[in-house]
Subunit: 321 residues, 6 copies
Amino acid sequence: MVGVTDLVTFGETMLRLSPPRGERLETTEALDVQAGGAESNVAVGAARLGADAVWFSKLPDSPLGRRVIGELRSHGVRTGVAWADPETSRLGTYYLEHGGEPRGTNVIYDRADAAITTVTPAELPTGALESADYFHTTGITPALSDRTAETTTTLLRAAGEAGVTRSFDLNYRAKLWDPETARAAYEELFEHVDTLFVPRRDAREVLDREGDAVEIAHGLASAFDFETVVVTRGTEGAVALRDGEIYEQGVFEADTHDAIGTGDAFVAGYLAKRLDGGEIGDALEWAAAAAALKRTVDGDLAVITPGDVESVVDGPGGIDR
Amino acid sequence: MVGVTDLVTFGETMLRLSPPRGERLETTEALDVQAGGAESNVAVGAARLGADAVWFSKLPDSPLGRRVIGELRSHGVRTGVAWADPETSRLGTYYLEHGGEPRGTNVIYDRADAAITTVTPAELPTGALESADYFHTTGITPALSDRTAETTTTLLRAAGEAGVTRSFDLNYRAKLWDPETARAAYEELFEHVDTLFVPRRDAREVLDREGDAVEIAHGLASAFDFETVVVTRGTEGAVALRDGEIYEQGVFEADTHDAIGTGDAFVAGYLAKRLDGGEIGDALEWAAAAAALKRTVDGDLAVITPGDVESVVDGPGGIDR
Amino acid sequence: MVGVTDLVTFGETMLRLSPPRGERLETTEALDVQAGGAESNVAVGAARLGADAVWFSKLPDSPLGRRVIGELRSHGVRTGVAWADPETSRLGTYYLEHGGEPRGTNVIYDRADAAITTVTPAELPTGALESADYFHTTGITPALSDRTAETTTTLLRAAGEAGVTRSFDLNYRAKLWDPETARAAYEELFEHVDTLFVPRRDAREVLDREGDAVEIAHGLASAFDFETVVVTRGTEGAVALRDGEIYEQGVFEADTHDAIGTGDAFVAGYLAKRLDGGEIGDALEWAAAAAALKRTVDGDLAVITPGDVESVVDGPGGIDR
Amino acid sequence: MVGVTDLVTFGETMLRLSPPRGERLETTEALDVQAGGAESNVAVGAARLGADAVWFSKLPDSPLGRRVIGELRSHGVRTGVAWADPETSRLGTYYLEHGGEPRGTNVIYDRADAAITTVTPAELPTGALESADYFHTTGITPALSDRTAETTTTLLRAAGEAGVTRSFDLNYRAKLWDPETARAAYEELFEHVDTLFVPRRDAREVLDREGDAVEIAHGLASAFDFETVVVTRGTEGAVALRDGEIYEQGVFEADTHDAIGTGDAFVAGYLAKRLDGGEIGDALEWAAAAAALKRTVDGDLAVITPGDVESVVDGPGGIDR
Amino acid sequence: MVGVTDLVTFGETMLRLSPPRGERLETTEALDVQAGGAESNVAVGAARLGADAVWFSKLPDSPLGRRVIGELRSHGVRTGVAWADPETSRLGTYYLEHGGEPRGTNVIYDRADAAITTVTPAELPTGALESADYFHTTGITPALSDRTAETTTTLLRAAGEAGVTRSFDLNYRAKLWDPETARAAYEELFEHVDTLFVPRRDAREVLDREGDAVEIAHGLASAFDFETVVVTRGTEGAVALRDGEIYEQGVFEADTHDAIGTGDAFVAGYLAKRLDGGEIGDALEWAAAAAALKRTVDGDLAVITPGDVESVVDGPGGIDR
Amino acid sequence: MVGVTDLVTFGETMLRLSPPRGERLETTEALDVQAGGAESNVAVGAARLGADAVWFSKLPDSPLGRRVIGELRSHGVRTGVAWADPETSRLGTYYLEHGGEPRGTNVIYDRADAAITTVTPAELPTGALESADYFHTTGITPALSDRTAETTTTLLRAAGEAGVTRSFDLNYRAKLWDPETARAAYEELFEHVDTLFVPRRDAREVLDREGDAVEIAHGLASAFDFETVVVTRGTEGAVALRDGEIYEQGVFEADTHDAIGTGDAFVAGYLAKRLDGGEIGDALEWAAAAAALKRTVDGDLAVITPGDVESVVDGPGGIDR
């Protein structure tokens, strides 16, 4: 873990296994393999857009664990990974079946007892964290195990003590916990969070917030003293609140090839622009552009470049704000 | 042929050979292989939706014939198949070239002299037929050969004598016979049919019926004494007539990946729900949902589950009726 | 579970995930998917060679569990499966990386806590067991969990009480338990076993037997009162002992495309021939032929026919005995 | 070069290398390979629609050069090719990355110093040219090198002297030259051109023309004495001017699978119909139909038939004019 | 049919459909597609090695028929094809399953009633035949139908009258006729044959010849007055007899990827060298080299070049003679 | 370029484009894409075996250039790359056609004027060089252009001045220069080389050395004052000379899937072991094991691990020395 670090993310990465378009898991004879996980997705997106990003996690010391590392590294992410005994640990997987209307996309998680569920702060190169500008994790990580919940809190606290801006994407997963348990856990973590990303729907259904996106942003900011709150609302775009000021950002139209990872690309675009000195409004625009571009690419990862983002932001397809 | 049987279907299944999307038969170097045939498509769809289905046919006793059996069995269909000498018989094939507008989808049949053209009732395990609730065949089968026409009549008659409900999908194929010949053959069979499925267009152009779908249903029911008539009308949905009552069903929107087999999925959904005790209206809704789901899946077969159908019927995408 | 049953097998089936030849798990972007498990491999092989085979197991009620069922059914195996809650259970997987010399083939199991680890006899259609001629399981099943060990014992005992011949393939897996633990467990089970299949190496290293294959066979038969003992010894062929008589069988030469499942194909060939009334010597010859044929086919399963086996046995390639 | 020749085209053909849909050049592990080049695209399209077409070019005498020849010949094009020393010459390539909105399709040319850049008239079988009805080239060819510019002029002049109708598609490529240089080169060539194809946008931005498509056609015709001018204007269709008469043609709707080569298919449709004795209006309709059909097919080449075109022209999807 | 013609071949070409290596027809989900037929294989091989070759046949006027034409043309073969009504004719297919020992390679023909079975000389451009140096067909063609037998005789007779050397490869196919019927047909044709290619085994089993290859060659030459007899004997190489002189040729070692078409490549190499003025001995060496090279390439066709053949003949791998 | 560096390599990396096995470049429709270049192959192999490796080069700032970077980074190599203007520079490619005997493997280079041909030392992060233990390049790099020859000399000199061990693999490429020119260039470079790798054949044919491998090693060492000379001799293994002592190493048997990159894997294994403190004999053994393992893996790169190497060295397959 040598070198300048802009961003540290922490979380689980799984093997993503998906059949060809038009085929179902029940009958497929082939699966595409990719690495996927909210926090590494953000690290990859941000790294590709110019950030020096490090990803913290725990993996089995096996070809599968090394496969994850290799794929992330190919996008320029450095990795600060604790290695688990391959005989007694496993890599989580998830099966992704793309489906058009009215079938929808189906996800089957097989992530129980993944190596990361035993991760402790002592296993991670926390030195890199201290020199970073941003630390990012999501609401998935504390849901994985008591241990990851503890480690998440420890890392957020350490980041705060080191003056690192702490970013948190709510990312509520109904398959991991129920709304009440999740809310209680979130609210304990919120005291360590500076920048919150939250979908309007989760704000309402999990955090029990009311009103439109602007009201939700104000409510959350005053309740938990966030520096910045970004509320996303699907095709209606996003709203950010910072220092009492509201920023609005529309959605860039996209031919969706693969919607998975769109939210992570949004966060990555935001963080990359902020790390590059951009204002909130510019960061939101990068976020929206990165999210739209992600949709055109297969896989969880935003395989995009700064030039791609600039073309969208500057281009005729841009939605004015 | 042991066990409870809900549904027996009878007809030809071919190897379906199709190039990748965007490629043409003239230049392709690879073909996807699947089993496809109207009556086995119905058996598969119904079996996947809960029916105990048996498919009657005749196949060459070769790897190709066994391939058909294997694929159908994988979906839970039991098979009552007469085996033909592989040296002197063949399996029909059809080439399917997907094409977007303005090119359209192109089908080339190579089905002449397939093994099924020599099938006799004595070769089939007709015992299974007698204990079934439904017998289903289509207007394709009698068009294949004089022998299949005779066997179709014999099986329909036997089913009627055993008190089995006889279902018939008109499925007019202009490449097999002309409208006049077809109409004459259909009309002879109609006396052995209880439930008729017919597209509005074929009712008009082949059966010489006039009026809208409701008028067609009434006309056919009174002319041939059908218990139930279901008239489909493309994107406008379907109409059923039974006991003088009309039932209407809209279409569920679908991102069409592969339209082949949509009509068979419709029949499968209908029969599965009827076999499960559903009313006509519910059966039509299952039919429409199964048809929409089929469109999202590659191949002739409706690789769907009861849960998929229920999601569509209950879901926000459902079209109320 | 209706119908005549020749053979019941009981055990775990996993998804087998393997990269293309020449690619490594660390870098592959695609995985072939197949079902694989010692006992279902035997059921498939035997069913394809003419037996009426049923496979007992427990699977998650998910597309992945249904995928296993579908693949086995396509080969004619009937399935007696307990369904586990898909939210709280999982399907085991294994990653298979083919490699030529000097790299070797590498297997990574991810099977901990698979649904089968909770299976109880009460969940299984044990009626089918009682009417069978053979019951077969392997030394893998009792190693999976205490529960599967108990269930294995219960099923073996029930089979014995019903007069079913009980077949057991030692199949020692060093990744599941150590030799001492395994030996203790095996020896408890042996009182319920009639036909034992054991590799010479495992007989020596796990069962602490000495001598050549013939001596091992005699020793095991007298120690545990087996009706039949088959000792395999790799490229040197197999030896069987029954009623004091020794049968020897050579190996049929094979161009090995995929060696996984060779031992299961051997057992399948043996059982299929025995079920068909064959003598021990003939059964061994079918076993050797099925094993050689399996090596030419991709996947765990012996996708072969009786005709294939007969060609090998009768053919010029046959090794006389 | 024996036989009747309807059409000779002259220009560069490259290997077209493109990753699967949804994948990016930065990460792809596979590339589809096809032959692509404006003038050979026209030759293939016209040959497939009935013309006897010959393509002139220069290729390395290597498997790659022969690959180009083989692919063109498979569509019925005869080739009049100068062979270059494979040790000292190369085949140009281009990388094509398909992308949906907002990413767009990306092309990377690697065509510098291709074998064609050294082609001289003496190396080509110009006899075939003299007996042809049409000679066609594009504004790409003279941009490749001084040598190709000279050879283009020589061939156009020879064609004119032999009474061959000379067709020229402006095809401005900003990656090859700037508008001023291009305009000067074009204007020198225009004295040797009878039929000009020009997009409205290029007419404005490169040729400095003003007004709508009709005004542009009139202006160009009077300035350079063209027999026929065809101005294309994207989704608004095309306009042709000949003998003072204006012909308008709408666009046929298409599900676009691959837009590359659409303009070349347009020219091919036009020339094939003209060569078959069609009037300007009919030729424009064939042009529009061929262009729409091309969009449904993968690759640069219009893998279509006269029957396909007739179906579009006659079909319900036809746009009246 | 314009231009110089060195070689005319006449026979059936089928679609060859083959699953990936290690997969079986019973379970495959994909088939590779290629054109294959003994006489077009020879035409392709000879054309690639420098001959001006024309292939005579009859095909359905469909995408499948055109696919055959396109593939042959891509290798430089010109085609003289009668087109059959696509509604009432079909293209023969054959399924090829590669298998290693002890399984062997399996072929399933589905060629009955192919379009060629109705071909008459009047439908073929026999003018090209008259100016050729060689006419080649095989013992497959007269076995297809009475009509093809008649047409074969007519073409051989016409060739003889025009002074064209007539080459015939016995190519006995047990799936088409029995040895006695075949022998009678062959012996009637032999009076029209100048050069005979015959495997030693067929000479013995079908033609009832005795002795070693040299004795067989002498016997056949004196019995039927052949100008040249070439007897092949598998891995032992070939023997030719001409003007009383015997030529022997060994086999070049090959890593066999696909053995289908080896014999046709042998004939192609022989004819190409003879057409180029080579002596019998040189022609045999080219034959052996072309056959060995073919084995390294997927498909029926010898996708090889004169340079490839020269490398083998001149190379260190060459077997001296 | 931060961090500890064990090894710096310098040279060209190309896109490697190869058709599937059994297909030829002339007819293939798909190409596998990988990064390949002698010096990056060594960097990847060494990095995978534990070294901290940096690769110096120059690439176009395009998706293709970034693709190379991404692939190397995925294996843990850090890159010190000068970026060239994508509009005016190109990435070299090479086409690789695998072929069995007697066809052989064919390589077509398309590398003229690649971006690296303009690289200067000032463009490279030479700081990393100064802190390294080893600098490695090959005889390919100086053959690319005068500029790369100069830069090679400068880097070797700088490395020498910094006390870095300089390793050089002769890697004579007949397609780049003739033996005389190459020898003159090599001999000028040799004064800056500490460790020389040279195939016995090149020592004889290019360097004009005589005798067996041991004599060649002594001759070269005394002529050019090398610290270490490693002479490879194909299947006979390698010989090293250092401090007057001779070390011999046999070859590990391998099932060769892809032989390209075997020599680079040998060097990588040697350097990785030396960097880890291994003696010459151990380094040679690692070299031989890495080379054998490489042969089992597709692509130029040795996708292997230290565990793989140890298994070979310790394993029963090991050849004693």
